[in-house]
């Protein structure tokens, strides 16, 4: 919003005293040209390596293009999309992606709020906790996926060891990753581990802007801690919460790394991104794969629009 105000054409120079010596028109013209010269390289790169490929993906999704095929590309209309709708693997991928996104974002948000509230209170060693929370975020997803795969191991993994032999919660070791009923929850748990601390740190930044006086006044008025949380903290945290939610949802919906490293293209956990890559690269069906990636793009665009509406409603 502030950007739009800033770009509105200025009716007259705001402070005429400052730029007396310079003729206004040539001055703004020179500045405008300079601005474009400065912006041009970045815009050019973005247009060439991001925007153009994006248009290409849209175009290819309506063709029967294949990699390494001498056959000429033919426009096939919505055939690729219709095929997707008929493909049970695509259905499974859609279902896993939605489950993954909803579950991981919901758990991360609730845990993130709880952890942010805990770190927000003053105690010795708070810095240590905050530092330790950056570690999961800093570890590459490939590495953390391999680490958790190692820990999930059925025979000699530390998780089964803890749950079965040390704590006695389970009767026998579970093949967390191989078993189709536990594989997706196990992967969600890895994502929760990796991103909850990050979510908590974003929310902590939101908590720290809330002035302490508000709580002091509420305490004086006899509000309980629980009431304070629902009446003060949560409403004031809403902007930060919404932003964190947007970023997490967009990230979760395109999930690839963690699932692919742990399970490859296995049918019990395949996600939309994995499906798209498998179709395009492994099977070389460029057109159909492009259609799948366009579907992901459109879902994410839809999420962005819904969320930005929410934020705007929040602002007014």
């Amino acid at each position: 919003m502030t950007q739009r105000v800033a770009t509105a054409p200025l009716p007259a120079p705001k402070a005429p005293g400052r730029e007396v010596d310079l003729p206004q028109s040539s001055w703004t013209k020179a500045r405008e040209r300079l601005a474009w010269i400065l912006v041009a390289p970045s815009v050019l790169v973005v247009v060439l390596v991001a925007l153009y490929p994006l248009f290409q993906s849209f175009r290819l999704s309506f063709t029967n293009a294949r990699f390494g095929s001498p056959r000429p590309e033919v426009y096939v209309g919505f055939d690729n999309y219709i095929r997707l709708l008929q493909d049970t693997v695509f259905h499974a991928a859609m279902q896993h992606t939605i489950t993954f996104t909803v579950a991981s974002v919901a758990i991360e948000t609730v845990l993130g709020v709880v952890i942010a509230l805990i770190i927000n209170s003053h105690f010795t060693g708070r810095g240590v906790v905050r530092t330790s929370m950056l570690i999961p975020w800093a570890i590459p997803t490939v590495v953390s996926s391999q680490l958790w795969r190692f820990m999930y191991n059925q025979d000699n993994g530390v998780i089964n060891d803890l749950l079965v032999y040390r704590l006695g919660i389970l009767d026998s070791p579970v093949a967390w990753i191989a078993n189709p009923t536990t594989s997706l929850p196990a992967i969600i748990a890895v994502d929760v581990w990796k991103t909850t601390p990050f979510m908590a740190l974003l929310l902590l930044a939101g908590l720290q802007v809330i002035p302490g006086d508000v709580y002091e006044a509420a305490t004086v008025d006899g509000a309980s801690k629980w009431q304070q949380f629902w009446q003060i903290t949560l409403p004031l945290l809403k902007p930060a919460l919404l932003v964190a939610l947007i970023f997490r949802t967009l990230d979760a919906f395109r999930v690839f790394d963690v699932v692919f490293v742990m399970k490859g293209t296995a049918l019990d956990t395949i996600t939309l991104a994995i499906y798209a890559r498998q179709t395009m690269i492994d099977q070389q069906y460029l057109g159909r794969g492009a259609a799948a990636s366009v579907v992901i793009f459109l879902c994410i665009a839809l999420l962005v629009i819904i969320y930005s509406r929410l934020v705007r409603v929040e602002e007014t």
Partner: protein
């Protein structure tokens, strides 16, 4: 600010007195529960990496022992020796370093120029450019995977480092422009105006005055771009095969002597080697990183 600092000291004093005055059972329980939670958070976040460290220096037999052995009986560096003598891994490491540093350098060089224009200069077309940059920070990588792959093959860049450098710019450059533009915008205008009145051109004002002031912001964005490039997997997996393989796909596809036996010791040692520099970097720059992340997120 002034009022809150004036009022603050009075109120916390009374609250601490009342709190320390009576140690009821409920308060002790609250305290204990609080610390259990704090310890749990630390263990939960740190344990997996700690476990990788411990496991990577265990003797091979203890690595696969049941029940699990929580502490190595003796130190074993053979996994590290193997990984560091492994030509494929060393090449992957070198590739990752080249790609990440190149991506950061190009992003900062191009991005800071654009960010200055976006943050400080008024020009027609600024809003469309802003929306272009912003939308590019949000769209999913997978959406352009196929067409980028096609483009890279057409340019003869498959399995070569420039392919990855180009591909990574699609997410590091918009991010850099966005965060630095906000950074430039937040600077006071007087400095630049003083220079302009003294006869400096806008470009001189930029690199003599604003750029040095933006150095902290550049360190932060550069660091975040570096981490993003270093950790990238999807493009590296798709656009490289052997020559230009980076560490992430290398770690993901470590194979043992047989198809069914995973060399966990080597995987963990390689993982630690690839992650330790990042963890140290993040711990050293934690304040800057947090500031950069919240700036990028809150203003996004």
């Amino acid at each position: 600010m002034a009022t809150s600092t004036a009022v603050r000291p009075a109120i916390p004093d009374t609250s601490t007195i009342s709190r320390t005055g009576q140690w009821t059972f409920g308060k002790v329980l609250n305290r204990v529960l609080f610390w259990i939670l704090v310890v749990f958070i630390i263990v939960y976040t740190v344990f997996p990496f700690f476990w990788a460290l411990i496991s990577s220096i265990k003797p091979n037999a203890e690595l696969f022992a049941t029940p699990v052995q929580y502490w190595p009986s003796q130190l074993n560096w053979t996994f590290y020796q193997f990984v560091l003598a492994n030509g494929d891994f060393l090449r992957a490491l070198r590739n990752s370093v080249i790609v990440s540093f190149s991506v950061v350098a190009i992003s900062l060089a191009l991005g800071s120029l654009a960010a200055y224009a976006m943050g400080r200069l008024k020009f027609r077309g600024r809003t469309p450019v802003l929306y272009l940059i912003l939308s590019m920070t949000m769209f999913p990588q997978i959406a352009i995977l196929g067409s980028l792959y096609q483009m890279i093959n057409a340019l003869g860049l498959f399995d070569r480092l420039p392919a990855l450098i180009i591909a990574y710019l699609t997410f590091t450059l918009p991010f850099t422009v966005w965060v630095l533009a906000n950074f430039f915008k937040a600077m006071p205008g007087e400095l630049e105006e003083a220079a302009l009145v003294d006869g400096a051109t806008p470009l001189q004002a930029f690199y003599r005055i604003l750029l040095p002031l933006a150095a902290p912001g550049m360190v932060t964005t550069g660091l975040l771009a570096f981490i993003a490039a270093w950790n990238e997997y999807l493009y590296a997996l798709t656009f490289t095969q052997s020559r230009a393989r980076t560490v992430q796909p290398a770690i993901a596809s470590f194979t043992g002597n047989t198809q069914f036996e995973l060399p966990w010791g080597n995987i963990l040692a390689a993982s630690v080697l690839v992650t330790l520099p990042l963890v140290i970097l993040v711990l050293v720059f934690q304040r800057k990183i947090l500031a950069g992340l919240t700036a990028g997120a809150v203003k996004g």
